[in-house]
């Protein structure tokens, strides 16, 4: 099949090679290729892939951990907010109670003071009344004495005078007792 140019179809001829030797050479070539690829490609690349996979899984785990941590913190925060609300309510209630107590105390104190004032005024009034009565009695006695002197001057005898004065004093004492009983 002699054809010109590069199209010359070459017959695989020449010295007859040993088939077994060829096969062994190919096996050796394959084993050499296997060793090199295992050492420089399959091994390192699978390690890199595994490492990257582990890193990604680790990142996912971290994200998951962070998410659960965030949820925990959120729950904690909500719990704290609830506590704060409850505390605030409690404080408000306490303040209201304190205010109520203070109000009651003020009212009670005001009442006490008013009562004291009233009692004091009543005492003062009593004293004034007593003083006025004494004054009135003194005035009556003076007027009585003046009337008596006038009667005496109009010839009343001594017995009659005494009886009249005694009756008058008894009436005054009765009048005093009646005034004290009213108070």
């Amino acid at each position: 099949m002699n054809v010109v140019g590069i199209g010359h179809l070459v017959l695989a001829e020449g010295a007859a090679p040993n088939f077994l030797a060829q096969m062994i050479t190919q096996i050796v070539a394959f084993l050499l290729f296997l060793w090199i690829l295992r050492r420089y490609a399959w091994g390192p690349l699978t390690q890199i892939l595994d490492g990257r996979k582990q890193a990604i899984e680790s990142q996912f785990q971290k994200v998951e951990d962070l998410r659960s941590e965030a949820k925990r913190i959120e729950a904690e925060y909500e719990e704290k907010v609830r506590d704060i609300d409850a505390e605030a309510r409690r404080h408000v209630q306490e303040a209201v109670a304190d205010g109520q107590r203070v109000k009651d105390e003020i009212i009670a104190r005001a009442r006490e003071e008013a009562e004291e004032l009233r009692e004091k005024q009543e005492r003062l009034l009593g004293l004034e009344v007593a003083k006025a009565r004494i004054q009135m009695r003194d005035d009556i006695v003076a007027m009585t004495m003046a009337a008596t002197e006038k009667l005496l001057r109009e010839s009343v005898d001594s017995d009659r005078h005494r009886r009249l004065v005694g009756d008058f004093l008894a009436e005054i004492q009765q009048l005093d007792r009646g005034g004290e009983g009213e108070n």
Partner: protein, 271 residues
Amino acid sequence: MALGLPLPLMSEHPEIPNFLTIIEESKATHGIAQTPLFQLLCAYQNEVFSLLMVVLVSLFVIRASRRFSVERPTKVQNALESIVEGFDGMTSGFLGRETGRFFLPFLGTLFFFIWFNNMMGMVPFMKASTSWYATTLGLALCTFVVVQITAVIKLNPLGYLHHLMGEPRGGMWVLAPLFLVLHLIGEVAKPLSLSLRLFGNILGEDILLGTFLGFGVAISAAIHMDLLPIPLHLPFMFLSLLAGSIQAVVFFMLSMIYIQLVLPHHEEEGH
């Protein structure tokens, strides 16, 4: 022909010229072609191209591996990682996580050895060594040995023998010798089918490409266009690209299946 294999397994066949055959045929390099070393290289040209592929790919991988980084991967590393991840997914999905990861280097390397060798046939002045039966048989024997060792380790020798006898129970022991013979034939047939399938496909592609390249050149010469040959073989290069890839995948998948067939869990599932 050392093993005395029948045609076409050991026969000479038309193929696209590679740089060794060009040197050998060229008058300008007649002196070089006559040296014993060159004669040896020509005699073992499939191994030469296979080793050349191993060296080139290994250099690329070793160079790329120096820049491997977890934090800042290069584009090459990203591509390699995608490839490794894909193969890891396939082997792990098929054989289980641990076993798949253990066989990943072997099965992955098997695929790339075959694929790169297949692709070498389409590179100008190169040759697909998988179009030579010694290559495919050698690879199939590697798979065979791995499968047998795996079977002996995973099932233990007696368990494997029991498996080869069809796992007989009760009266089925009578048929055990028959099953043993059948299974032994099946085990031998596996590497044969693997190697013959790959060899036949790639050889067929090479012959197809060589033939149509020859037609193109012949037609060009007939119309006095020696310096601008018609690339009649071009459509078949796409076919070769597809078929070469498919054959690599088939070899890879079948090797994985053969390994899976001898794994204990498969036995428990009632294989």
